[in-house]
């Protein structure tokens, strides 16, 4: 089991890479009620403000976040375009989003993603995002993708962190 929880301050993101099933799970708390966190995931205008890596431009071609809907967006980085698309399998307001996710550079690959929002009371929410792929190679490639996709400015800071630990 490989889990990292860095609790330097307030809500640090936790990652869990399951040893038995090819999935990655992200857990994070927010100082906002589930309604707002849900909105930030379903309103395309809000989504572009946070989803893409900082060094990339994000363009949303379509975004119909409801059960049976679909989406496509494009990240542009150094003049290169990276397209992503998928379907919304189940959308339950303020609680749950189940969707598929495909990177168009590898169109036969698909991840099943489940986003669960838990109301913690006092206007706080715990988000649990699980990505399931069909092989450990796929999962590990998924983790390794952080190595080269849009992390330019994050690299230096990260290396400092890694060197410090």
């Amino acid at each position: 089991m490989t889990s990292t929880s860095n609790r330097t301050r307030h809500h640090e993101t936790q990652i869990l890479a399951d040893p038995d099933v090819p999935l990655v799970r992200i857990i994070r708390e927010f100082d906002a009620p589930p309604e707002k966190v849900f909105r930030a995931h379903t309103d395309a205008d809000l989504l572009v403000r946070w989803l893409g890596p900082r060094a990339t431009q994000m363009r949303i071609d379509s975004f119909d976040c409801r059960t049976g809907g679909s989406y496509r967006y494009v990240h542009t980085h150094d003049g290169e375009e990276y397209g992503f698309h998928g379907c919304f399998h189940e959308v339950r307001p303020n609680e749950l989003i189940v969707q598929t996710f495909t990177f168009e550079g590898f169109p036969e690959g698909v991840a099943l993603e489940k986003l669960v929002l838990e109301d913690l009371g006092d206007g706080r929410t715990r988000l649990t995002a699980t990505s399931l792929v069909d092989s450990f190679e796929g999962r590990d490639a998924f983790l390794a993708s952080g190595m080269d996709v849009g992390v330019n400015e994050g690299y230096e800071r990260l290396d400092e962190v890694l060197a410090g630990n």
């Binding site: 092989s135 952080g146 994050g154």
Partner: protein
């Protein structure tokens, strides 16, 4: 196939028995016989798994020692830890931006999520 080192590591770790072997070697070096003991497979089968792990650079075997214990190459774990840490880092940066977005949202926002606007065809009364 699987020519580059990263792909070799991926496919070597794709097998549950090999992941288990790696996990056990993380505790300490072990001989092939010791490694084979808990499994319902032959020593030969375990040797095959070790060959794959060795080719991927995950483990090494000393040529000299008579027992030829299998040793886990620790830098591979560093690699995995690095991937995970980078991934976590990216997610954290993303969610800090989400923190900002959430802070900017008015408290009494839309009473229902931004669904499709209901088609207002004809009005009743």
């Amino acid at each position: 196939m699987a020519a580059d080192p990263l792909s070799r590591v991926f496919s070597a770790l794709a097998d549950p028995t090999r992941r288990d072997i790696v996990a056990r070697l993380a505790v300490g070096d072990a001989t092939v016989n010791e490694l084979a003991a808990p499994y319902d497979v032959t020593v030969q089968a375990v040797s095959k798994h070790l060959k794959v792990l060795e080719d991927a650079g995950l483990v090494s075997r000393s040529r000299e020692a008579q027992r030829r214990p299998v040793h886990l190459e620790a830098n591979v774990f560093d690699l995995m830890t690095k991937w995970i840490e980078r991934y976590r880092r990216q997610a954290e940066e993303r969610y800090r931006r989400l923190d900002d977005v959430l802070r900017s949202l008015p408290d009494r926002a839309v009473p229902h999520p931004p669904a499709d606007p209901p088609p207002q065809e004809g009005t009743s009364s």
